[in-house]
């Protein structure tokens, strides 16, 4: 056809390239801004005391979030004890045993479970553990995070196991090794890196969860000595400080948020370098 029409079409094509590029920039802007403000407002409050001391009372400056940082790691440890074995073994079933119809339903259910709002997990575990045990506890906090990890770990484990070449299994079986030993000693070991990655990403995800901890771990201004006591956690502390009216606490909230974000991003970026796997693909 005629040249002007062609020019208009080319122009439109370039215009769309530019506008989609602008959208991509818009998408990454909040991350940059959040990071900038966290460093600007939080960095100055981070010192040794921040990691080792208890929060100070209102009006006293200084103090730290030592108990919240320790609490987060204690909660994550408990979560791993629940989420990892159940998730990994479930993933083994999906990859190694399941029939395609049953697998379809399990995957479907796992994806739905992933979409359940975390706040509803919180009230479920409240009814399940806090009410019978007559009090908020670190244990309940660990359980809620652990349960949330299960579908995440299960799905990534399944994916990673399917990357293990079938020849490995056949070779082992041909040598007379029983199937379960083949799975444990050959398949799982081969895929270990990917499984660890999946677990770390799941931990990074639940590490920032606040809503399910509100009515389970509850938070604590002091060190928790028993798992049956309420325990502080970094995200909870950030939330409580952020909605408080005190400037000192706001500063602490920024510092806590910076520490939490660095922890989460460190895991996320770390696994990226760690997991260029032996099949040349990046496992997610």
């Amino acid at each position: 056809m005629t040249a002007p029409n062609h020019n208009w079409r080319q122009f439109k094509s370039v215009l769309m390239q530019v506008s989609t590029f602008v959208c991509a920039i818009l998408v990454v802007t909040p991350l940059v801004l959040v990071f900038y403000h966290l460093i600007k407002l939080g960095f100055s409050s981070i010192n040794l005391a921040f990691f080792t001391q208890l929060p100070k009372a209102v009006g006293e400056s200084g103090g730290g979030m030592g108990n919240a940082i320790a609490g987060t790691f204690i909660l994550l440890g408990q979560a791993a004890v629940i989420g990892v074995p159940v998730g990994v073994l479930g993933g083994v079933f999906l990859s190694e045993y399941g029939t395609s119809k049953l697998n379809w339903w399990i995957r479907f259910a796992a994806d739905i479970l992933n979409g359940v709002p975390s706040i509803t997990w919180g009230i479920v575990v409240y009814a399940l553990m806090v009410v019978p045990m007559h009090g908020f506890s670190a244990l309940a906090g660990g359980v809620v995070l652990g349960l949330m990890m299960i579908p995440l770990v299960m799905r990534t484990t399944e994916e990673v196991l399917q990357l293990v070449p079938g020849g490995y299994r056949e070779a082992a079986l041909a040598l007379g090794i029983s199937q379960w030993k083949t799975i444990v000693q050959i398949v799982l070991r081969t895929a270990m890196k990917g499984i660890v990655t999946g677990v770390l990403l799941a931990l990074a995800r639940v590490a920032g969860e606040t809503a399910p901890l509100l009515f389970t771990a509850f938070g604590n201004r002091y060190w928790a000595h028993k798992l049956t006591e309420p325990i502080a956690a970094l995200p909870l502390q950030i939330f409580n400080y952020a909605i408080s009216p005190y400037d000192d606490w706001h500063r602490q909230a920024w510092a806590g948020a910076l520490v939490l974000l660095l922890l989460v991003l460190f895991i996320n970026i770390g696994v990226r370098f760690f997991t260029r796997d032996r099949f040349g693909r990046r496992t997610k």
Partner: protein, 311 residues
Amino acid sequence: MPDHAENHFGDRAFKWLTLLMALSIFVLIALIGYELAVGSKLSLQKFGWHFLVSSNWDPVNDEFGALPFIFGTLVSSAIALVIAVPISIATAVYLTELAPQWLRQPLIMFIELLAAVPSVILGLWGIFVMVPFLRDHFFPLLQKYLGFLPIFKGPIYGVSMMAGGIIVAIMIIPIITSVSREILRSVPGLQREAAYALGATRWEVTRIAVLSYAKKGLFGAVILGLGRALGETMAVTMVIGNSPQIVKSLFAPGYTLASVIANEFSEATGDTYLSALFEIGLVLLGVTIIVNAAAQLLLKTFAGPGVKPQH
């Protein structure tokens, strides 16, 4: 021989163990539904269906209706979708079709990192950075030029339905973008080549061959984003203002299903109050399960087993 028998037993035991673990998914879903139903029994009996249409939330007189929260959840999610859908899909298109190769991986990494930012941190940033900015600069601007619309009328507080919607948009953009990207990547190259062969420009190839082919999958990605938006809790709670009212203005504070649980659950005195909050949880669970199931079905039927929905 004994060894053989033992292995046989080991095989069966291991298989059953893994089956049990895999089935725990169904147990967990049933458990959530059951606990919420038991918890909300009192409220279900007392208010019945009226709970969903009453806007009377009065803990002092033990009267509870969820309508303001349902309204707030729907409105903030709608705002989030209006903002997030075009931006996310455009970004996914840019990443798969139009961006230069060297820029793709860094951008993808940034978007995945944004998805990993905890909700409470976005909320903190929302309270102290985003809301003041919106209040002092963006909202007055909107009101000046679009103030004739009822949704942009009224006093500006900062914390508002609109602020809640924007923060939710920031949270669901990475999800919609990365699922859309997977969808677009699964469009066969032949589709594109055929369009190029007909003399189409780059954008025409994208529009005719890629986007119209991927329509169903992209719809699935959007619905998945909606599912997340409905259940988003902390960031919204921190910027939406937490006031149970139904008003036209988007500059007025609102309240959502998830945030009323977050704010009031640990202070709820009285069995009916607690039970009403459980029922709100039940409503939230029901809605998100339906929405997520729809999203998964759309994505699964579009993509077949090759493409996995992301989280």
